[in-house]
């Protein structure tokens, strides 16, 4: 590659990166972060010095027709997906609309989504019949000093056949 071509390539890259910076910011306001893009994780959130950690959490209950309810931690039930994806997947696709404030977060309720989760639950209990899969959203509150934790139910996304 000729030196002049390489020089032009660098100029184009520098201009492109500046344009990308603006685009990522603008697109990010209305949708999610574009991909592929030259972006590294920001982790921009900061915390006050309240000594309390709060977070939304989820776990999954499988309810059987005999009335039995079996609770699963997220990684135990969602073995079909790498652990690193699970929480954000549930947040974007299996969160009650009332909780997220967005109309697009309960994709799980659509027939294909319901079948997907119910089939997985049925595979865990082949001898029994599944009545519903409940994706239970809670608020976890932990006092850093005492390590005491408090879980408050927020909402449930119920998937029925």
């Amino acid at each position: 590659m000729a030196e002049s071509t390489v020089r032009h390539l660098f100029v184009a890259a520098i201009i492109g990166l500046v344009i990308q910076h603006g685009l990522v910011g603008i697109v990010g306001l209305y949708a999610s972060e574009p991909w592929p893009a030259i972006v590294l994780p920001a982790f921009k959130d900061v915390h006050g010095r309240s000594g309390v950690v709060e977070s939304k959490d989820q776990h999954i209950d499988v309810v059987l027709t005999d009335g039995q309810r079996v609770s699963f931690e997220r990684p135990q039930f969602m073995t079909f997906m790498p652990i690193i994806h699970q929480s954000v997947f549930l947040k974007n696709q299996c969160q009650p609309v009332a909780l997220s404030g967005s109309e697009h977060t309960d994709v799980c309720r659509r027939p294909e989504g319901k079948s997907f989760f119910l089939d997985r639950a049925q595979a865990l209990f082949p001898e029994k019949e599944v009545r519903s899969v409940d994706i239970i959203w809670t608020r976890l509150r932990i006092d850093v000093q005492t390590r005491a934790s408090e879980t408050t139910p927020l909402d449930t996304l119920r998937l029925r056949p």
């Binding site: 030196e3 999610s32 592929p36 590294l40 079909f80 790498p82 994806h85 997907f116």
Partner: protein, 377 residues
Amino acid sequence: MSTDRSWFDRWIFDSFTVSARGLALYRIVVALYLLLIIAPGHGSYANFSYLDSVPDIFFYPPPGPMQLFSGFPGFPFFEGLLVLLNLSLVAVLVGYRTRWATLATGLLLLVGYGFNYSLSNLHHNIFLMVLPLVMAFSNWGAALSFDARNNRAPRQVRSWPLVMVALLLGYGMFTAGVPKIIGGWLDPSTYAVHGRFLREYFVIERHDLLAPFFIDVTNEVLWETLDVATVLYEIGFLFAILHPFTTRLFSVFSIVFHTAVTLILNIAFLPNLIVYAAFVPWHRLANVLPLPEAHATVSQTRTTLVLPLLVLLGGTAFFYVVGSPLLWLNGTTGIGPWLEEIDVLAIALADLVTVVAVGSYLWRRFGTQKSVAYAQS
């Protein structure tokens, strides 16, 4: 080095010294890192096959070219992609059609991760793809390769791809640093690293390595210093790339940063480690290792097609079917599930390379001067 060049030209073309054998060493290290640590199809970093079982209703592509697709392809697509990815990586390792194999590696990773991130969670490992796509133009197949044995690779190696990698990396760091400033990381009344650590510890339950020791560290000056240092490091990287010394210095800071994040927050960010390794002066290492000449002489027998073919097929079959033997370490020490033994191994290797590189620099800079002074006295 020409003195009548502009500053811009000197930066692009003269910043880094490279040699065919030095670049070849780095090429081999990159290929081994991807095959053994990232382990396409086997490890947790480049696992795409599970997507074929996910209904298209969950296809949620980020803004960009993935929106041209309407769903996840089937099992044969992902398995084919993994076969090709392993094939291209083995070809990069042994230097067969190196430039094309390197470009193919970058493109195949882009496609695989494109679908992976269409499930609603995007990870910032873009440099795993940027690195091969840029380094393909360095001619890193000019030595220690089948291409060199067959005199197929051009002999001239280029250093500007290293500067391009540095430019993109510096900018990438800047994109991480600016939101932190806007978000309030420099405000002494808030805490960011400590807040993140508490969240990772209590909510995600990352309790490995040094996390249990740091949970009782409440020194506000220490945590605030970490906030400020992180921002300065990320913003400073963009300016550091203007000189090879500072590029290397900030790459060392990066390894220290990732080591600390792994030890304390239990978050291993492996994709960038191999990018920082680009700035190791591999040409110096190549000079002291007993490596073969960069190119075969004309009188040497050209390697027939049979040997490369056997190596490529054998290597691809091994890494596609068996995978990285290093993955067998996972689950042996009881850490996890958020951190795996292979993460710790990768960080430890990066630390080892850093210590050797820094030690070698310090010895050249100060040790030899001392020896000369001693001899003169």
